[in-house]
């Protein structure tokens, strides 16, 4: 047996081992083949003009008023309704597609950070009657109900919607009724959808601060807001910032809010929607200008992603503790704090969970034109089991998602095993970055890349999206799901592997086991629960995937996944929204079952989208 220098460099082990090599090469080749190549190949056309390398398409975008402009239009208007009543109509101003996307993203980051941090701080630091109910309520906004929750947000802000009923009719706080639409509608809807991500990250950060650090500051004379400003917040900031950045990226690539608000032209002037509308309006998907726009979008997302990684890695001190017993700092709120909690924080929470509540109400109601829905009916829910097209989309999604989680588990397991056990490998850091990269690649960009890639690579086959009804998206969707949802499961599994001390495998090797034996007999049994948790997590995420599902997935109705049907229901005839809501209720049920199971099986608190 000889040592091999290249095996040591590539795989971090001087004696070549097929198990180790596979653990590196399988995820690496998979990610290169189905993430890097399709996206790059597609994007490359943005650099070609008249057969030559050129920045023409970028110039044409950056020089166009449509994409970047000075603000135009009024942020809000006082509109007189036919009834004679005046209302505020708030839609935001137009800075052009690119700046609009950036401003929406930044606004959503700011609002979710404020909301998420307040909720997290209250939950992490105060004990108050009713806290357990609040804890359960805080799980509600985590439930993903694509499109329908945005539809409810829009409803809440109609002249007779919940918000105006509450703040105008009852509390008389608003001078006029307020209707939101356009970019402001998108911002509010995304804020309500994504703030739980900041909440989860911030909560974890507050909980993980070594109490002695704050006690020492108090001991030295600090206290109150000074303590929060000088010690608590700086220590929690990396976690909060990571959550906020994730929200920023999600906002950038979000399609649900722009689609629901697309009645207002301003809501259409967002990068994600611009690319999406190419799919729906006659397939100029492969146009170089669109590719250039996709590059700009991808670049912004990746810069945000790299920025936060750099920032967080520079400030990894939240966990800096020397052991000892932690006595969590949970206090009884003072009178004014309790007043704030009961009269501001909890009402805000109740409003923020209303979209999910509204989805359920919508699914069980006959009509909903006023403030509240009217007429109870099981008809929409029953359609899930009686209406063949609905049954079919559910079956489709279950099949795609099941296939995808098998791939995801294999990818996460091999990638996490390789990069956590063979740290000397030069491929390790590459693999690490590649397997988290999908977070920063907008789904719509992947959809575009796949469209282009499969049309060029497999023309006139089942895999060619331009083949329309001859196209079967199953493989394409499974690939897209497995790539897009990989980072979430990979984290859960990597965390599991890190908890298993490497000596447990070394002991097996040392006693005569092969790598394969040590992996299957020692490591995998020890992280089985993490694997199950990761599998359930990714299943839920695959089921509710939107970007690729509503583009490539909505070409051939026979193969629609759930979300493709939902977007169709939301954007077509009146009344179908109830059916979309029924599907939303179905998705929520799946998520609740998965969360409960994951918590029961792994006995740790799993919260979805938790990404610290």
């Amino acid at each position: 047996m000889r040592v091999s220098k290249w095996s040591e460099r590539l795989f971090g082990t001087p004696i070549f081992d097929p198990v180790v090599a596979t653990s590196f090469l399988f995820p690496l080749l998979y990610l290169i083949s189905f993430l890097i190549i399709p996206v790059l190949a597609m994007l490359a056309i943005a650099f070609v003009y008249n057969g030559h390398f050129s920045l023409h398409w970028f110039g044409s975008i950056l020089g166009s008023d449509y994409y970047i402009s000075l603000p135009s239009g009024d942020f809000y208007k006082l509109v007189t309704l036919p009834s004679g009543e005046q209302i505020y109509y708030v839609q935001g101003v137009d800075f052009g597609v690119i700046l609009n996307s950036l401003l929406v993203s930044l606004s959503v980051m700011l609002l979710t950070t404020i909301l998420g941090t307040i909720f997290a701080f209250v939950m992490a630091r105060y004990n108050f009657p009713g806290k357990n109910i609040v804890r359960i309520l805080l799980f509600v906004p985590l439930l993903v109900t694509p499109f329908v929750n945005v539809f409810i947000v829009k409803k809440m802000f109609l002249p007779n919607g919940l918000i105006n009923w509450l703040f105008y009719d009852i509390l008389h706080i608003f001078p006029h009724r307020i209707v939101i639409d356009g970019l402001v509608g998108v911002i509010i809807a995304q804020t309500m959808t994504y703030y739980p991500i900041v909440y989860l990250n911030a909560y974890a950060s507050f909980i993980n601060i070594d109490p002695t650090l704050e006690e020492q500051a108090e001991n030295l004379g600090s206290g109150g807001f000074h303590l929060f400003r000088t010690v608590t917040l700086p220590l929690a900031l990396p976690g909060i910032a990571a959550g906020a950045t994730l929200v920023g990226i999600f906002s950038l690539e979000d399609l649900a809010a722009p689609i629901v608000f697309q009645g207002n032209p301003l809501a259409r002037k967002l990068m994600s929607f611009q690319i999406y509308s190419a799919f729906t309006s006659g397939f100029n998907v492969g146009s170089p200008q669109l590719a250039a726009l996709a590059i700009i979008m991808l670049t912004i997302a990746i810069l945000m992603f790299l920025g936060i990684r750099k920032y967080v890695s520079m400030r990894q001190y939240a966990m800096l503790s020397k052991g000892g017993r932690w006595k969590p700092r949970i206090a009884k709120p003072k009178a004014w704090q309790a007043a704030l909690i009961y009269f501001l924080v909890i009402p805000m929470l109740l409003i923020s969970i209303f979209p999910q509540v509204g989805v359920v109400l919508l699914a069980f109601s006959e009509s909903w034109s006023g403030t509240w829905p009217e007429g109870f009916t099981m008809q929409h829910i029953m359609s899930i089991v009686t209406q063949p097209d609905i049954e079919r989309v559910i079956m489709n999604s279950v099949m795609y998602s099941t296939a995808a989680i098998v791939v995801i588990i294999l990818l996460s397991l091999t990638a996490a095993y390789a990069s956590s056990r063979f740290k000397k490998s030069l491929l390790g850091p590459v693999l690490d970055s590649l397997s988290t990269l999908p977070i920063a690649v907008p789904g719509i960009v992947i959809a575009m890349g796949y469209f282009f890639f499969f049309a060029k690579a497999f023309p006139d086959t089942l895999l060619d999206p331009t083949n329309l009804l001859g196209f079967n998206p199953a493989l394409v969707l499974v690939l897209a799901y497995s790539i897009r949802r990989l980072p979430f499961a990979a984290r859960s599994i990597a965390a599991g592997i890190q908890q298993v001390h490497v000596s447990l495998e070394e002991a097996a090797l040392n006693l005569g086991a092969s790598r394969w034996k040590a992996l299957t007999g020692i490591l995998i049994p020890l992280i089985l629960l993490n694997l199950l948790g990761g599998a359930m997590l990714s299943f839920v995420y695959c089921m509710s995937e939107t970007s690729v599902s509503i583009t490539l997935g909505s070409i051939n109705p026979d193969y629609y996944p759930i979300t493709a049907r939902m977007v169709e229901l939301m954007t077509s005839a009146v009344g179908s929204a109830n059916l979309a809501a029924a599907l939303g209720v179905f998705l929520m049920t799946v998520q609740i079952i998965a969360i409960v199971l994951a918590n029961l099986i792994t006995k740790q608190r799993y919260s979805f989208i938790g990404l610290t």
Partner: protein
């Protein structure tokens, strides 16, 4: 049972050289200890012998067989990990039987040998427990049984006592020694505790920053240290830098702070030296063939079974005398004048080590 030979073993981790060319010979059937402070390379050496790491250059032989690049699984040098590395999802029986199952032994044979091993470590009756249901000392015994049951050519122990409390440590120490004697197996033992090393070992290799400073029996190492590092690492020692000013045959006169000590044994070439004197060799009453050092009492420290007198002399030099007799220190108070006596044969002169 084999002898183990390390030949010019070099190992680097990135920019740091962990082992700078180690040469060692471990006799078959002896208990050999690698002793040194943390970071000296002792654990790296052990992992290289176990086949869990591979050297950049150099060779390892078991008997006549070159095992340098033989994978750990085929080597038969079984390591007992510092954290025991017991598999929490397996019972004690399954942990111990693991290596035997890999060797595809018949069920009966496995059962017989696991029972033998558990009996050897006095854990019979614990077969169906899980590791988490055992105390630290019991876990340690399971780890040892798991290693011994496969009849290793060499047994490797990595700081085996460091996770045990003081009382258990003494118990396990003699237990390990007993098992080693009973089986006559070659054992390589890693520790940073010099007392533990001296108590348990046939021979010791003292390591420092990737090199072997000295190999010898515990007595050799303690009484005849070859380097300043070995002298100062083996317990509390008086080390005084000095200069050789006169040589007659193998006797020299050394000087420091204007104090001259003559008639001391030294054959080294270097003139920059250190004077090494064990505290228990420093007397408070005159002895024959003695050098004497006068100063004042700085501290008298009472340790129970011995007493230490710390003296100040010269230019803020310290000397420690250790005695077991209360009478020696009667009436000694800080700032009082005192004279220390050391037999010339108990003074060790060593070349000064560069830092």
């Amino acid at each position: 049972m084999v002898d183990v030979k390390l030949e010019n073993v070099v190992k680097t981790f990135g920019d740091t050289v962990a082992l700078k060319g180690i040469n060692l010979y471990i006799k078959a059937g002896e208990l050999f200890t690698l002793l040194g402070p943390s970071g000296c390379g002792k654990s790296t050496t052990l992992r290289i012998i176990a086949g869990l790491d591979f050297p950049d250059s150099g060779h390892i032989y078991f008997g006549n067989e070159d095992v340098t690049y033989l994978p750990s699984s085929k080597r038969g040098a079984v390591l007992v990990f510092q954290n025991y590395a017991l598999w929490p999802h397996m019972t004690v029986f399954d942990n111990v039987a693991y290596g035997l199952k890999l060797r595809k032994l018949p069920k009966e044979e496995i059962k017989r040998r696991v029972e033998w091993a558990l009996e050897l470590v006095k854990l019979k009756g614990y077969e169906n427990r899980y590791p988490t249901q055992l105390s630290g000392g019991q876990q340690q015994r399971v780890a040892i049984a798991r290693a011994l049951v496969v009849e290793p050519k060499v047994l490797l122990l990595d700081e085996p006592l460091s996770n045990l409390d003081a009382k258990l440590r003494l118990e396990m120490r003699s237990e390990i020694r007993r098992i080693q004697r009973e089986l006559g197996i070659t054992v390589i033992y890693v520790t940073h505790d010099q007392e533990e090393a001296m108590a348990i070992s046939d021979r010791i290799a003292v390591m420092n920053v990737g090199t072997v400073e000295q190999v010898g029996t515990p007595r050799d190492i303690y009484e005849r240290p070859k380097t300043e590092f070995v002298a100062s690492f083996m317990g509390k020692t008086n080390v005084i830098p000095a200069k050789v000013v006169e040589r007659t045959g193998d006797r020299v006169t050394v000087e420091f702070d204007g104090i001259r000590l003559d008639g001391l044994h030294y054959t080294g070439k270097e003139d920059e030296v250190v004077i090494v004197i064990r505290p228990e060799r420093v007397k408070l009453k005159p002895v024959e063939n003695a050098i004497s050092i006068s100063g004042i009492v700085d501290l008298v420290e009472y340790y129970g079974f011995f007493i230490e007198v710390v003296g100040l002399f010269g230019e803020e030099r310290r000397i420690i005398a250790r005695t077991i007799s209360d009478r020696d220190v009667e009436g000694l108070k800080p700032t009082q004048p005192v004279t220390f006596y050391v037999n010339r044969d108990d003074v060790i002169i060593l070349p000064r080590q560069k830092r």
